[in-house]
């Protein structure tokens, strides 16, 4: 699809000037692969939009040959490849067969041509593609692009591509220059490129320079890897924190084992999906800001559902944790089926707003996606709000009072039943916020909550029941531990190792990292 759009825009730009010659077209289209590649390289020296359009057609298998006539199929029209005049499709027209080698050449030629696109993102993508297969034949094009490039980020990248192209040069001085240039790049494919060149390099002097460059690149990469693991650990930790914060209130403070917590998150995620749909339909202009509206909606939807559950089921089960566990598991099954009936069993698509896509490039191999950064910020915001709500407000005072000593709180005139409902709704609402955040980084489906429920309980149990601070440390600690183990042992083994670690840890400290002291510890 994208290719088609690109093709038509290129055609529009091209107008009717014929700058690709009959000989070039024939050379590229007919003959042995070797001679076609040679012709392609020659055509690239004087290439322009017309060449690009033709190559795109070739890559899309839209070019046919009949004798020495070469035509391009454009939708239901057939045009001559050179003059663009409309012709009838000759009866003996045959498809042009491109083997993989030819295809690779065409693709990288196309990428090289995209270096002159007016769109920054297209150019950046083209530079990225060229990085892996730069060679000397594209050097003139790259240098031409380098001369006209305005965007500094792309220009830097392009410089690296030029260096990569120089690396294969027959000229020793140029190779030396390339080695020096590449040393400053901190990218993973530079490393493979240098390694490959080291194998074939005949000259000892350049070999030494390449070795030095390799070491420099490797140390930059190692830093990037470590920081990357740390960042994804913090990112996972922030998600775990969001997921576990609601649970820290319903389970940690109130002692309710809510197995439907994951499904309350799912409701938050689906609320986000619905808000997105409404914005698409009624406010397409403000679509980028739908997430801001989705946050309170997700909170309210889950909080209302939580209040409903508390009033209808959970309040009858206070003090019977095992029964609560089973009943809330039943609730989770029903909520999942409800969502399946309403929205279908398939995952639904929730898009990132445009300001959340992309990321900041910190090091060559380390870029921080905006959506992850936003979620980290969001987790901090939610944590702050909860801490303030529990620690500073009257409602928080009542919640703490009721959890510490229900009869005395009741004697003081606190309506304990109402406080239970509020507290449970608050915990559920935070689950909704977590769901809203999760919808931006993962799939939204009926099973969304199931994947997180075990993790969430682990975080709360590890952090110590009744502790917000413990939850924070446990979430971040588990997130970072998980990601570092992942780099070392793979995702599944890391997960298993973390679970085993928690099981062992609970042996040592059954009350979590921050044990409650005194009488309430036994409760």
């Amino acid at each position: 699809m994208f290719k088609k759009i690109l093709l038509s825009t290129l055609l529009l730009i091209a107008g009717s000037a014929y700058s690709i010659t009959v000989e070039e077209v024939k050379g590229i289209t007919i003959g042995e692969t070797d001679s076609r590649i040679e012709a392609l390289a020659k055509a690239m020296l004087s290439a322009d939009d017309k060449t690009a359009a033709f190559l795109q057609a070739l890559s899309d298998d839209a070019v046919k040959v009949a004798g020495d006539k070469i035509v391009v199929i454009q939708g239901d029209k057939v045009v001559d490849a050179v003059t663009q005049a409309e012709v009838t499709l000759p009866d003996d027209a045959e498809d042009v067969i491109n083997n993989n080698r030819m295809r690779g050449e065409i693709d990288s030629a196309l990428a090289a041509l995209k270096l002159f696109s007016k769109d920054d993102t297209v150019r950046a993508a083209a530079v990225k593609q060229l990085q892996s297969d730069a060679d000397e034949t594209k050097l003139p094009l790259i240098e031409k692009a380098l001369a006209t490039e305005q965007n500094t980020a792309i220009k830097d990248q392009l410089g690296m591509v030029r260096a990569a192209a120089l690396l294969g040069s027959a000229d020793k001085a140029k190779r030396m220059e390339a080695a020096k240039l590449l040393a400053t790049s901190g990218q993973a494919n530079t490393k493979t490129m240098l390694l490959a060149r080291l194998e074939t390099e005949p000259d000892a002097e350049i070999k030494a320079a390449l070795g030095a460059a390799l070491r420099q690149v490797e140390s930059a990469l190692a830093w990037g890897d470590k920081l990357g693991a740390l960042f994804s650990g913090i990112s996972l930790g922030s998600i775990l924190l969001l997921v576990a914060l609601g649970l820290a209130i319903t389970y940690g403070l109130m002692g309710v084992i809510n197995m439907a917590h994951g499904e309350l998150m799912m409701i938050g995620a689906y609320a986000t999906y619905v808000v997105q749909g409404l914005f698409q339909k009624y406010l397409p202009g403000a679509f980028d800001w739908y997430l801001l509206a989705a946050v309170p909606v997700a909170f309210l939807a889950s909080a209302l559902m939580g209040a409903l559950l508390e009033r209808s089921v959970i309040r009858f089960l206070y003090g019977r944790p095992l029964e609560t566990l089973l009943a809330t598991w039943g609730i989770s099954l029903m909520l999942m089926q409800l969502v399946r009936s309403v929205f279908g069993a398939q995952n639904v698509g929730v898009e990132n707003p445009s300001w959340m896509s992309g990321g900041v490039q910190v090091l060559g191999n380390l870029s921080l996606p905006y959506n992850r950064l936003v979620i980290i910020g969001f987790a901090i915001f939610v944590l702050g709000s909860v801490a303030w709500l529990i620690g500073q407000t009257r409602l928080g005072l009542f919640v703490r009072g009721v959890t510490q000593n229900r009869p005395i709180a009741s004697c003081m005139g606190v309506n304990t039943a109402r406080i239970d409902t509020y507290a449970f709704a608050l915990g559920s609402g935070i689950a909704g916020l977590a769901g809203c955040a999760l919808s931006q980084v993962g799939n939204v489906g009926p099973d969304l909550g199931q994947g997180y429920i075990v993790d969430a309980f682990m975080v709360v149990v590890l952090g110590g029941v009744g502790q917000l601070a413990g939850t924070v440390y446990a979430a971040l600690g588990l997130g970072i531990l998980n990601k570092f183990l992942e780099g070392w042992a793979g995702a599944v083994l890391a997960k298993i190792a973390v679970l085993v670690f928690i099981i062992i840890f609970i042996q040592k400290r059954p009350q979590g990292i921050f044990a409650m002291k005194g009488r309430s510890a036994e409760a």
Binding site: P321, L325, A327, G330, I331, M334, K495, L499, K508
Partner: protein, 377 residues
Amino acid sequence: MSASMKPVSLPSPSPLLSRTGWAAFLVALIVVCAVAPALNLLVPAGSVFHLSDYGVGLVGRIMCYAICALAMDLIWGFTGILSLGHGLFFALGGYAMGMYLMRQIGLEGNYKSELPDFMVFLDWKTLPWHWTFSDSFVATLFLIIAVPGIVAFVFGYFAFRSRIKGVYFSIITQAMTFAAMLLFFRNETGFGGNNGFTDFKRILDIPIATPSMRMTLFVLTGITLLSFFLLARWLINSKFGRVLQAVRDAETRVMFSGYNPLGYKLTIWTISAMMCGVAGALYVPQVGIINPSEMSPANSIEIAIWAAVGGRATLIGPILGAFIVSGAKSWLTVAYPEFWLYFLGALFIGVTLFLPDGVVGLVKRLSKSANKSGDRA
């Protein structure tokens, strides 16, 4: 002072089963061993009394579930420890059996190799170490009991020693089965990855997919269920069983009376796990497949609901519960697939809210009130 104290007389142990109990037990035994095979194999297929192969498979499967429910009842109903990881023990027994059945396929697999197909697929040349004993049926029988037993013993020892109880214990058992599921999903573990084991051909060199073999497995399962019932009954009536119930009702007081609950809890926990392992081993040849999804936390929690629906702390209850819930499941998932989860969810909520003693408790309550009104009349 001590002179004035009367010696404490313990209540004399009640008989294993009452007279009617034995009669009912005998009837059940005859039904399983004689009536069901006769109805399935001898009565012609067109007759109303014919028990279809589907019916045999279904009831055979449910009896395996009933064994799990019974095991769950011992640990939850009588000792007060809710395990959300019994699916793991079930699956471990099943996998031990499955390994043997995979070896029995021999050269008839798709790749005509001595090794199970999935190993050929993974380009393995030799059997991994944990498959060493898988070609011996006797060793397999031992593993079916030993593997779940050892896993449960080690896990239970550490958990009970540090006095993890209540919900904490439930949640870490859930984490345990979840971790095991992730482990078994991996191809490297050597258990067939997410496809698990299937395509069994023979057991003890006898073809597995024949009506008589199906009936044999059915009868075996029935006998196992009934003998486990007797075993559980005996355990619960013994002094050991009384201590278990005391632990359930007031663990601290039991400790202050000079008992160390660790040994009691650990023993019943291990026995319960072994029973589940046996159930899994009987289950696998009947359904013809075992894969890691048997270890999913949802399966384990379903075992708890069987026990809860039937009635905890009664032995007949969980067996009934397994039949009621699984029967409803096999009917509803075919007839109204979208309602099954609503039904199951409502069952979880309804039983915990309104039927704390399950169906058996309900029947007792109803008959008691009927007696009362009868007395008055």
